[in-house]
Assembly symmetry: C2
Homo-oligomer: 146 residues x 2
């Protein structure tokens, strides 16, 4: 067995995702304090649209690692909030492209500031070499299982 050496007992917090839960909760709290009335999950969708507006729902599934029903409902809620709108693709009528509204675009700067601040709070006291290694491990884990 290739990875039989490590102490498994200490690793189960990996599975329960305590660190990422803690980050998500802090981000949610920080967003609220800045009167940005979106959920962390909605943020994760908007984040990809800010980088690349007009992604399809399937693109958003891949980018956020969520299944199709989850994206359907997240986009539903983002539409209700007037942050995005669905536009049927002309070349392939199965596809909805998701575009930011003006209001959705306006949210980018402040929201990304809050996200950056949250990440800084999370990583206080962690040397950047170790951050790189941690990132690398999480990437391998993801690639192993996705």
């Amino acid at each position: 067995m290739p990875n039989n050496q490590f102490k498994k007992g200490e690793l189960y917090s990996f599975m329960t995702g305590k660190a990422s839960t803690a980050i998500a909760r802090r981000l949610q709290k920080n967003l609220k304090q800045h009167n940005i009335e979106i959920t962390v999950e909605q943020w994760s969708v908007l984040y990809h649209l800010w980088k690349n507006d007009g992604l399809s729902q399937q693109d958003l599934c891949n980018a956020t690692f969520r299944d199709k029903p989850s994206i359907t409902r997240l986009v539903d809620n983002l539409e209700k909030l007037k942050l995005v709108k669905r536009v049927a693709s002309k070349s392939d009528r199965r596809i909805n492209q998701v575009f930011l509204t003006e209001y959705g675009k306006q949210l980018e700067d402040e929201t990304m500031n809050v996200a950056n601040t949250t990440l800084n709070e999370a990583l206080i006291g962690v040397p950047s070499e170790k951050i790189d290694i941690c990132k690398e491990v999480l990437q391998i884990v993801y690639d192993n299982l996705k």
Copy 2:
């Protein structure tokens, strides 16, 4: 700013918890394949009871990093499945101690085997020094934010 050096753009998967989501999904799939009919969240509660039977609901909140309503409902469902039972503490009647049933105890060995297998699948190709560093980083992140 202490942690201004790292490239933030690559770190947002931290926040969205893609790696831990992937682990949880794989664990769920592996449990199902072994006909173990519990959710990953239920597993995370049982895991702590297997190590320490009779924990209070508040203990389970701390151990699993979930809030009180979440534990209330997880214990509700575990009781419906006849895996645990609540017992009111005699010394402090506010407290419910949560005890495994015989059936709950019987599930331990096979379930922990599945969990260990899942972790091995996740960590294929990751050298153990890097696992240790990753663990350390996630622990600091958790301590920074909890």
